[in-house]
């Protein structure tokens, strides 16, 4: 079998990002010190689909996610959202773009000093012109969607890991985003809670019709929630296809990742 380094990289470049819906990443490059984490990465996240990004720890999956909403600035390359290049936007324009995104952080990143309800409502309090009653009702509605209506007055420190993730998800959907970014939504959770989070991702996908980008190592989660699965390695997307195609693929890196084997083209040390 051909060594993965000798295999030609698939071309995910989009010819005309200005007239393309969804998120287009073009030539994204980012280094931390001497280490190049993203190396001219090209990809297109289509509207309405759920893409799961796989990759080993430290390959730059979360870095890619943060570049999509410019929480990190690239050394080179561009990000386009629904035909608008966001890499050159000033803060006000960038904030308008971010209103269309929700993000679930790896550790949920709930504000410790606020109750769960206040966490969920904060974006609406800042940006919505609706009444306080409406905002509270909306926060409760989002908490109900993730099954946390009983926890609205609790502090984050009073919640379990799974509940924190669900609360983070409620906050992410409160402003009715077009896109939801999930940074390792099931990491650190038991298999049953992980599956509940996966069901929640599918439920939100079905009810809100959002575009979802999920970063994970969890293959069960990837197979359950994805429309497409992409593999990030050495700063580039080396593979992307449907779930069925991934199950059948002979690509050695993907196979090794699916099997969770320490032996293969991806070396551990």
């Amino acid at each position: 079998m051909q060594h993965p380094d000798a295999m030609p990289l698939p071309d995910f470049a989009v010819a005309d990002p200005a007239s393309t819906q969804g998120v287009v990443v073009r030539g994204l490059t980012r280094s931390f010190g001497e280490r190049k984490v993203l190396d001219g990465l090209d990809f297109h996240f289509r509207r309405g689909e759920t893409v799961v990004i796989l990759g080993r720890s430290g390959e730059g999956k979360s870095v890619l996610l943060k570049h999509i909403v410019r929480l990190l600035e690239p050394d080179a390359g561009q990000v386009w959202v629904d035909g608008e290049e966001i890499t050159g936007l000033h803060k006000r324009g960038l904030f308008e773009v971010r209103k269309r995104f929700g993000m679930l952080f790896q550790g949920a990143a709930l504000f410790d000093s606020m109750t769960i309800c206040e966490n969920v409502a904060l974006g609406l309090v800042e940006h919505s012109k609706e009444s306080k009653e409406w905002i509270r009702a909306r926060a409760c509605e989002c908490l109900a969607m993730v099954g946390l209506q009983a926890a609205e007055n609790k502090l984050p420190s009073e919640l379990s890991g799974g509940m924190k993730k669900r609360a983070g998800l409620a906050r992410a959907i409160a402003m009715s985003p077009d896109y939801i970014l999930y940074d390792e939504p099931t990491t650190g959770l038991d298999p049953i809670t992980s599956d509940a989070i996966n069901d929640l991702i599918l439920k939100l996908q079905a009810e809100l019709n959002v575009t979802s980008i999920v970063v994970t190592h969890d293959m069960a989660s990837a197979f359950k929630v994805a429309d497409r699965i992409a593999m990030l390695s050495k700063g580039r997307m080396i593979y992307a296809d449907t779930v069925d195609a991934v199950r059948e693929t002979e690509h050695p890196v993907i196979r090794q990742f699916i099997q969770g084997s320490a032996h293969g083209p991806l070396s551990v040390f």
């Binding site: 909403v69 960038l94 971010r98 410790d112 940006h127």
Partner: protein
């Protein structure tokens, strides 16, 4: 030898880069000042943290500052200077120097540690990223209320500390150092100049800015996990104390030129 020179050079460059980033942070915070009214609730909450939270520390410090100033002054004056000047010496020392500087050091240490640890933890747990995603500007939401509260409340705390220190000096002088109440009060009134108090308050205002900026700068620039938060907190407190002492000299030099000429 070359390594030493390189290390010194690197240290100087890093310090200059930090000073540049600190200046940029100050400009960014000042650009948020028009939003202060919108952030009034958070600012009042922070004013409460700055003032009410610091009260036990300020009261204790001020009592002993006044007391030790009285003891030291009596010891140094007894053979050469009439005791009627005791009140003058205590009040001038406290108003011009001891009040503003010691308040800035003790309250500054407390606030810098608070700001750097709180913001540093928010940084390493991605809460600041989460705020950006809502999207809320952390400079407006987190930095502005803390900056404004420290700037506004430090002079208030200083006036309070000045009062307690003078009362403490009076009580110690009268009760244990053999000075009569009328002698002490005569000295207090004799050379009282509002400019003394005013110059101390101007100092406090600048010290407030230094304290807030140190806590905010190191908090927002925290890297790593628990160790990073610990380092940021330590650097914020050390940076604030050093900058207060350095600024104290320059402010004193300027204020004595401008106010007392």
């Amino acid at each position: 030898m070359l390594t030493l020179v390189a290390d010194i050079g690197r240290g100087v460059l890093d310090s200059l880069a930090s000073a540049g980033r600190g200046s940029m942070l100050l400009v960014t915070i000042l650009a948020q000042v028009p939003h202060l009214w919108k952030m009034r609730r958070e600012t009042v909450e922070q004013m409460h943290v700055v003032a009410v939270g610091s009260l036990p520390l300020v009261v204790t410090t001020s009592i002993f500052v006044g007391a030790v100033t009285a003891v030291q002054a009596v010891y140094q004056m007894q053979a050469y200077v009439p005791m009627k000047f005791l009140g003058t010496i205590i009040s001038k020392s406290v108003f011009i120097e001891l009040g503003p500087v010691l308040v800035a050091l003790v309250v500054g240490g407390r606030l810098c540690a608070n700001y750097a640890a709180e913001l540093g933890t928010m940084k390493v747990t991605e809460q600041i990223d989460a705020l950006e995603m809502l999207p809320i500007d952390p400079m407006r939401y987190l930095a502005l209320p803390r900056f404004a509260a420290t700037l506004l409340m430090l002079p208030v705390i200083t006036v309070f500390a000045d009062g307690i220190a003078v009362i403490s000096g009076y009580l110690i002088s009268v009760s244990t150092l053999g000075v009569t109440a009328s002698t002490f009060i005569e000295g207090l009134r004799m050379f009282y100049d509002p400019a003394d108090l005013f110059s101390g308050l101007i100092k406090s205002f600048f010290f407030g800015a230094i304290i807030a900026m140190s806590g905010l700068f190191f908090g927002f620039n925290t890297k790593g996990g628990a160790e990073g938060v610990g380092n940021a907190t330590m650097m914020a407190v050390v940076g604030s104390c050093l900058c207060v002492l350095v600024a104290d000299y320059f402010l004193a030099a300027i204020l004595f030129q401008v106010i007392f000429d």
